[in-house]
Amino acid sequence: MTKTPILSINNLTKYYGKLKALDDLSLDVYPGEILGFLGPNGSGKTTTLGILLGILEATSGTFSWFGKPPTPGQRKKIGALLETPLFYPYLSGYDNLKIVALIKEVPYSEIDEVLKIVGLEERKDSKFKTYSLGMKQRLAIGAALLGNPEVMILDEPTNGLDPTGIVEIRELIVSIAKRGITIVLASHLLDEVEKICTDVVVLEKGRKLHSGKVSEVLRSSEIVELSAYDLDKLKAALTEEAFVSSVRKEHDILIVELKSHIDPAEMNRLLANKGIFVNYLSARKQSLENYFLELLSEQNV
């Protein structure tokens, strides 16, 4: 059974003058997915989202929403928060949402519902310029929820928030996802992405490095953390072993990716036989963060 992608990107390329921001990017997003859109700063995430939302023009390539060529009207069914919340500072939260509702052709009655979902009911009549950053982000998410969107695009929704704010937004996103809305979440908070997202795409320098299911990434390899007094000797010894896929140094420990499962005790014995005694050994599952950093460091070799 083939499903139609809700979003399909085909060979998208974008130049800013001579700078190639996007390099032949292709990607499909299926309904119901929660896609983590990852990449270092300058990798082309915001450029891609800008093109999809009609504010930037691609140099070449195409994309489609809901299986059809892009039109402005489609965006009434897409909720978007790109980089920063953009509203009229002298208008209240409610009045700002009124303008969004008029543009999306959505009845005003939805405004109160949406304000309740994001927890801004009490401050709805205060001017936007009086809002804290967290409130501004929440208003933006509220605006994105108007019109029962089928897709939401959230670019760094927790940008600049304190830890409490980050948790609040995360819970909000999870509850939105539960309604079956497809979400594209661009974020630097990899552990958040690991918790929330079903799929992940990694960009670097405008190219797609990887795309796939989060669960597969997490299952893809086992990680063992090791440390010894002589780290270089430890690293050399490990690199010799066949079961080791890669070794990466982080501060004063080594992070080792295994090709196949090895019992930690067995590893300990092997190293002791070589005269290396570890002072720290911890087996853990692959994390998105580790996978991401590995992927990027491979590229930079």
Partner: protein, 267 residues
């Protein structure tokens, strides 16, 4: 179309800046219309006592001349309306609210139309602001009131509307081109007060008549008055077809270029 008017209405109706500027405009216009005759007469009577030639007193408000006189006077304030337009439109760029409007589902063309409609409504309002006080002053000060004398030169009102619409579309053009409010306001003022005047001065009159601002300003020429007749100067008492066509031409150019500017740009 009503949706676009509604959207812009909600954008501005709660802006204190907008109301301060707009109410200032209304008050200034009304005060000028009502007070101009008295002002000029007082100013000139002081001069008149010294001169050998008796300077006749002005009577601006008699029908049918009141329409011409007041429309000419009102035309001097159009720069104020243009500044309102430039300020609010370029703010949509600098605050990036335009960006959010587009992301929310407004097409670029719809955005442009909403601003054009804003200029139309503003010009209509300004024309009414010209109409009512002038009508009242005319009714008070005209000695012989007949229906024909009231409506005889009423064509200056649509000419005034055209002048405002054209100047407003020039303001839109500058705002969309430059996108930053301070720069846009500065450029508008510079072009209006300085640049075109210098160019017009250097060109022969027949050619200068084709410049945008000159044509718009010439729609309503300096009204004649008894004072001018004394000096043997005779300005036009009608609206010239060439000026109308040139003004329409420039207005079309400015508006069409808005659509062209927004077509494939990054916002």
């Amino acid at each position: 179309m009503f949706r676009l008017i509604k959207i812009d209405f909600y954008k501005y109706s709660k802006s204190r800046t907008f109301w301060v500027l707009f109410i200032t405009y209304i008050v200034t216009m009304t005060a000028s219309i009502v007070g101009v005759e008295q002002f000029l007469n007082t100013a000139l009577s002081k001069a008149g006592t010294d001169s050998a030639v008796p300077i006749p007193r002005f009577s601006f408000y008699s029908f049918p001349y009141v329409w011409h006189n007041m429309a000419y006077l009102a035309g001097m304030f159009k720069i104020f309306l243009a500044l309102i337009i430039v300020f609010f439109v370029s703010n949509e760029f600098s605050y990036k609210t335009l960006r959010q409007n587009i992301m929310n589902g407004m097409s670029r063309n719809e955005f442009i139309w909403s601003k054009i409609l804003f200029v139309v409504l503003l010009s209509l309002a300004a024309t009414l602001i010209l109409f009512f006080p002038s009508l009242v002053m005319g009714l008070i000060k005209t000695k012989v009131l007949t229906w024909s004398v009231v409506v005889k030169k009423l064509f200056f009102l649509p000419a005034y509307f055209l002048e405002l619409m054209a100047f407003g579309s020039f303001a839109l053009f500058v705002a969309f081109l430059v996108r930053r409010s301070a720069l846009a306001i500065g450029l508008l003022a510079f072009y209006y007060f300085v640049l075109e005047r210098i160019v017009a001065y250097k060109l022969p009159d027949e050619v200068a008549a084709f410049l945008p601002i000159k044509a718009m300003g010439s729609l309503i020429d300096v009204p004649n008055s008894n004072l001018m007749k004394l000096f043997g100067v005779n300005f036009r008492e009608y609206v010239d077809m060439q000026d109308i066509l040139v003004t329409l031409f420039w207005m079309t150019v400015f508006i069409v270029s808005l659509f062209y500017m927004m077509r494939n740009r990054d916002i």
